[in-house]
């Protein structure tokens, strides 16, 4: 049975480095890649009525953007290298969704880039990679 690696992307530069690293690992180990773009979202925010009214539309737009600008080109590029790959877009808390996806897709490892935030920034805004390391059910490779 081939191993499955989960790769987290968001179109940023660190995510690009994580993608390169994960591709190389997958090639070397003959693993399958699941590329996930998680859009940060919480069901417990406070919105204006107008935001609520347009929410469904915005969600479709967010998904289309994530797919069109980041996920689809990346998946195509990985496929072109002869690797088995699948792309998913989800909404939610990034670290939790990734942990959930690892279980759902049977991934044995997660690859994620890190932004290299300063201590203060990480404390204020939270670090996705840092949180993921804490909650993930499988080993996490944080690519600098």
């Amino acid at each position: 049975m081939t191993d499955t690696f989960l790769l987290a992307v968001d179109g940023s530069e660190p995510a690009g480095r994580a993608a390169e690293f994960a591709k190389a690992r997958a090639k070397a180990g003959g693993a399958r890649l699941v590329v996930a773009y998680v859009i940060e979202w919480s069901p417990y925010t406070f919105n204006t009525p107008e935001e609520n009214e347009e929410r469904h539309k915005r969600r479709e737009e967010e998904i289309a953007k994530a797919k069109g600008q980041v996920l689809d080109p990346l998946v195509a590029a990985i496929e072109a290298q002869g690797l088995e790959v699948e792309g998913v877009v989800r909404h939610g808390n990034v670290a939790e969704v990734l942990s959930g996806l690892a279980g759902e897709k049977g991934a044995c490892q997660i690859f994620i880039g890190r932004k290299g935030l300063s201590k203060v920034k990480a404390m204020l805004f939270g670090s996705v990679a840092g949180t993921l390391v804490q909650v993930s059910p499988v080993p996490v490779t944080v690519v600098p």
């Binding site: 859009i39 979202w41 919480s42 069901p43 417990y44 925010t45 406070f46 919105n47 204006t48 009525p49 107008e50 935001e51 609520n52 009214e53 347009e54 929410r55 469904h56 539309k57 969600r59 479709e60 967010e62 998904i63 989800r90 909404h91 939610g92 808390n93 670290a95 939790e96 969704v97 942990s99 959930g100 939270g126 949180t131 909650v135």
Partner: protein, 514 residues
């Protein structure tokens, strides 16, 4: 035609000169006040037509609301108590399909509706009720809140069931849609249309009254309170305060500056927590007074002393303020709840049960208890409205009026944003969708902020009340016809829930760790 034009021109040129002269004598506030008061008095007279009951004037409209709430409570077999826990689970997201992540959650729909409901009614309205109706008004207010839960449940279920979903993915719902579509299903299309239009007209007036002028007026009062009272700088600057608030409201609803709205939406829940915490501290600090306060509330509910109209007088005040605060039966919140993503309209109705509960049974009761415990309601200065609430809190925390001023302005602001949305929805229902039609209403809305800040309390409260209660006339007639629809939905959902057919998801994404 020419004559009319000439008259208009004359009026235009004549007004500024005359206004300037009058301004020097009486101030802009008084002029606006005197111009609007007769109109508001007329509307109030119609809506609050009263009949004598045991020698007291009982406004028919209050009876109308109370009877509807009582019937809903019995017809849905005390759904508010049966489904209280299940509603909590729905709000928490236990039954939310993970595939719908990113859509409007039950929590978000409730929070948005609440930010329109929790406003000055909870702070100032309660004070008005207690100052006129005595402590006993509190009892009736809580009772009205508990019964209002069932009414709110029905109207929010219908709001989702009969909403419009447009091809571009946006949704529009509320009484105007369920009245027209729902009654059409019952072969009463004509009546439905009439009720829907009547509702929309009243909702526009309500959005300008209770959703706007009352909020502006009371937040201005509190600003006056903390800037030196009647002799302070702000005392006769209602128009100035109005212009500033109108500017900010305009920036959000016309200018589309979402950041202001977003900040408010985040700060408002925080202020609500601060407000309730302060109230709890005051109650705890005076714990020895609590039994006496409850005695005054329950005793005052049935045999009050010194209240005009006795028990009935207290009851009228309590019911009136509860209805004005939680808007059950009025139909407004149904517009906000309609945006939720759910396959079962009934779930949003169940979630909406908590709205009158949080609004009236929790927050309004806090305010009432503080006023009763501190004994502030029996003041000799004749204080009422937000001034009374402020002085009650001040008697324990001398610095509280400043916090309250901030809370009041923020509550008022978020309520205005919500009501401007309700108003726009009804406006476009009547005059058709379109940027231009929306803009006209939004401009009118901003003008009313200035008018509201300039008028004295009496005419503003009366007008707010009448506009909001008039919405209930059309809404409740429709609800009586549509109650069976809600009951059918409820029974189907409830039996499937008991049989375990409604899937409960144990999802990780719902637990918020950061």
């Amino acid at each position: 035609m020419k004559k009319l034009f000439a008259a208009l021109t004359l009026a235009l040129f004549w007004t500024p000169a005359a206004l300037a002269q009058e301004t020097q004598e009486r101030g802009i506030d008084t002029i606006i006040n005197e111009a609007v008061a007769p109109i508001s008095n007329f509307i109030v007279g119609v809506v609050f037509y009263s009949v004598p009951v045991f020698g007291v004037d009982f406004p028919l409209i209050v009876m109308w609301l109370v009877i509807a709430a009582a019937i809903a409570t019995i017809y849905f077999n005390f759904i508010a108590f049966r489904a209280f826990k299940h509603a909590m689970e729905l709000i928490r997201g236990d039954y939310a399909d993970p595939k719908d992540a990113g859509e409007v959650s039950h929590f978000q729909a409730l929070a948005t509706a609440l930010s329109g409901t929790v406003g000055l009614g909870n702070i100032a309205g309660v004070a008005i009720a207690v100052s006129i109706g005595g402590p006993g008004a509190t009892f009736w207010m809580i009772l009205a809140g508990l019964m209002g839960m069932s009414l709110k449940f029905a109207e929010c279920t219908l709001g989702v069931k009969y909403r419009n979903e447009y091809p571009d993915g946006t949704v529009s719902g509320g009484p105007m849609y369920y009245l027209s579509k729902g009654l059409a299903e019952k072969n009463l299309a004509g009546l439905g249309k009439v009720l829907a239009v009547f509702f929309a007209v009243c909702c526009i007036a309500g959005s300008l009254g209770g959703g706007n002028m009352f909020q502006a007026n009371q937040s201005f009062q509190q600003i006056v309170n903390i800037t030196g009272g009647e002799t302070g700088f702000m005392a006769d600057k209602g128009w100035l305060f109005g212009l500033i608030v109108a500017g900010i409201v305009g920036a959000v609803i016309i200018g589309g500056i979402k950041s202001i709205a977003r900040v408010t939406e985040k700060v408002v829940p925080f202020m609500a927590v601060v407000y309730c915490t302060a109230a709890v501290i005051i109650i705890l600090a005076n714990i020895t007074e609590v039994p006496a306060a409850f005695g005054a509330i329950i005793g005052g509910a049935f045999s009050p002393e010194g209240v005009a109209g006795g028990a009935i007088g207290a009851l009228i005040q309590g019911f009136k303020r509860a209805a004005f605060s939680n808007e059950a039966g009025v139909g407004s919140a149904s517009i906000a709840h309609s945006a939720v993503r759910t396959k079962e309209p009934i779930t949003e109705g169940l979630v909406a049960l908590h709205e009158p509960f949080i609004d009236t049974v929790v927050i309004c009761t806090m305010t009432a208890l503080v006023i009763v415990i501190t004994g502030s309601y029996s003041n000799e200065a004749g204080m009422s409205g937000v001034e009374l609430t402020s002085s009650a809190f001040e008697s324990v925390f001398p610095w509280f009026p400043y916090i309250l001023a901030l809370a009041v302005v923020l509550f008022a602001f978020s309520t205005m944003i919500s009501w401007s949305y309700y108003g726009v929805k009804c406006w476009t229902y009547l005059f058709g969708e379109g940027q231009k039609t929306e803009l006209i209403f939004k401009l009118i809305f901003c003008i009313f902020v200035v008018i509201g800040s300039s008028m004295s309390l009496g005419p503003v409260v009366d007008f707010s009340d009448s506009a909001i209660f008039a919405m209930a006339v059309a809404n409740i007639v429709g609800l009586y016809f549509l109650f069976p629809v809600v009951k059918r939905e409820l029974e189907s959902y409830w039996s499937r829930l008991q049989e375990g057919q409604i899937k409960r998801y144990r999802t990780t994404w719902l637990i918020h760790t950061d």
